[in-house]
Symmetry: C2
Subunit: 343 residues, 2 copies
């Protein structure tokens, strides 16, 4: 009853292809609906106020492993990843709703831990928990968070505003969260095989980037202070390369990335090599960094140049020039977007 004669596997389309395919037949009926599916968040207009809405679902066994994820961190992260989407619109998150489906293996005390993390994120980012739904799950934990923010018409940064000649910038550093995950997975295996307790002391930075990421509220505030409005912006959840493809596709442009411009934390660099991985691949395809990737008009270069923790990693070029990486070795080759595939 749930399936028809023809059966197309969802993997054939991939997450973004699937969403595009399924939402294509929908048309917009309300004048207040400014932006729908396809950006970091939806945008709704109420007079001069824009309401910005973003939602993410976190699934046990897919997005997190309770073997090494403290529930408190999980609650924190499930809020932060949504706030990150609102900041990526150059808007301010104000409210969240949290819905949970959970099996009866979770105790009230376990949920208290989860909510402590949710509350810590609410306090730090100054957002209010305004609603949600709590229900039973036959198996596993599912967390669906919706973040609601406020934006101003002239200050919004969408994915589709990048212009040829713009500079491509990134905040912080990338690849660390992915390497944190590799460490956690390795230690889990060692524990399962030998019972040896892991010692994470040395790698705390990488592990925290994975388990307890932060959203770049500070950057949005810095932009406002310096009257900087990125021409396009996206947060790095699926990996830098994948996000560059989103911006290029939606802006109808190409991009030229300098490998030497991609910021990698020394711990990430070192750990990648220990794992026999290429640091730049981890940085470009790792994902879950929740940094901001954005394009600016070159006239704003002076504004950005002296701001802390912002790195110029490339340039927006004509669409015919494609999306290319200029390696430290002097080679130029097409950028590959692996991203995270959850199907």
């Amino acid at each position: 009853m749930t399936e028809k004669d023809k059966r197309t596997d969802i993997n054939e389309l991939g997450e973004f292809g699937l969403i595009e395919h399924l939402t294509k037949p929908f048309s917009t009926k309300n004048r207040s609906t400014l932006k729908t599916v396809g950006d970091d968040a939806a945008v709704i207009q109420n007079n001069n106020f824009l309401t910005v809405v973003s939602t993410d679902m976190l699934v046990e066994g897919i997005h997190f492993d309770l073997a090494y994820t403290p529930l408190r961190y999980l609650g924190y992260k499930s809020v932060v990843v949504n706030l990150s989407d609102i900041y990526a619109m150059n808007a301010q998150p104000k409210q969240i709703t949290v819905s949970l489906a959970l099996s009866n293996r979770f105790s009230v005390e376990a949920l208290e831990e989860l909510y402590k993390g949710i509350q810590e994120a609410c306090e730090l980012y100054k957002v209010d928990l305004v609603g949600g739904d709590t229900t039973s799950s036959p198996r596993g934990l599912y967390i669906s968070v919706t973040a609601i923010g406020q934006g101003e018409v002239e200050k919004m940064s969408y994915r589709n505003g990048a212009k040829v000649g713009d500079l491509l910038c990134i905040t912080g550093n990338v690849g660390a969260a992915y390497l944190g995950l590799q460490i956690l997975e390795r230690e889990k295996q060692i524990f399962q095989q030998t019972g040896a307790q892991p010692d994470f002391e040395e790698q705390q930075y990488l592990i925290e980037r994975q388990l307890k990421p932060e959203a770049r509220k500070d950057m949005i505030e810095l932009f406002a202070k310096n009257k900087l409005v990125p021409t396009a912006m996206i947060d790095v959840s699926d990996g830098v390369a994948s996000e560059i493809f989103h911006i290029c596709k939606q802006s109808g442009v190409g991009a030229y990335i300098e490998e030497s411009g991609v910021p990698i934390h020394p711990n990430a660099q070192e750990m990648a090599i220990k794992f026999g991985l290429d640091p730049i691949t981890c940085a470009l395809s790792g994902g879950e960094d929740y940094e901001l990737l954005f394009a600016i008009n070159p006239k704003d270069l002076d504004k950005v140049k002296y701001l802390p923790d912002i790195y110029i990693m490339g340039e927006i070029v004509a669409p015919a020039d494609g999306i290319k990486l200029h390696t430290k070795g002097g080679q130029i080759h097409p950028l590959k977007a692996q991203g995270w595939k959850h199907f």
Copy 2:
């Protein structure tokens, strides 16, 4: 790692108790946050515009059974139950987000069916799909919908506005969705035991009330046309009795319900008796009717009296008088709120 020494089972608190317990430590930080957890929807103020937000999670094996639920109806229902929460605030839904977690047993064609239903609801209720998230689930289908609406400050109906002397009204009829579910469950068992295909022709009304409910958009429009603003309102998702308790608790009042005032569809009446169930129990505790239960100031009686499909079922009384049912047999006893417990 997920649990501490003390272990309180979530069943001890129940769904509403659990939410209250977990969200108690949260404080509100934004002036725009008007209403948080505890009503049908959250309310956010942007100047004179109110943004109303509601979210619900539907879980396979808990809220729906794909053995007898066509995916198209499921998509439709998952939207409608959220819109119903917005109407219950006397507001108009405008946008929705839809997040899915699904296992790879679902094909693209199956999802197309689900989205067809979502789209049909969007068309009929004039709401726009503006975002969401689609991800993998190790097992089963999870649907999380958030509805966003617009309200006007002077027209909102919250749960806490009922006053002693107000009349308690209900739209449509109640209990039918519950009996529809009983039929579907019975036929599923018969099919599993004997392979006999069910013939639902006769009971189509009850089954549709379960599988493809509608939200009372028409009533909200009728209220507006007649300049009627309920003093309190809630939609009937968990059962009339449970909803009466919510209104009474939040308004600090009691209620007196006339059994003869509770509207029951003749098909529901008949089917309850066939199942050996008490029709009034089905009507008061069945749930999933998505009708509107509301209180009005007695001066508005004339406005309501001649409106179609609205029934006066009782009166708001002093809190000390409790919440009581006056049966057709002339007895008066305390109302029991069973509601649907999903834990």
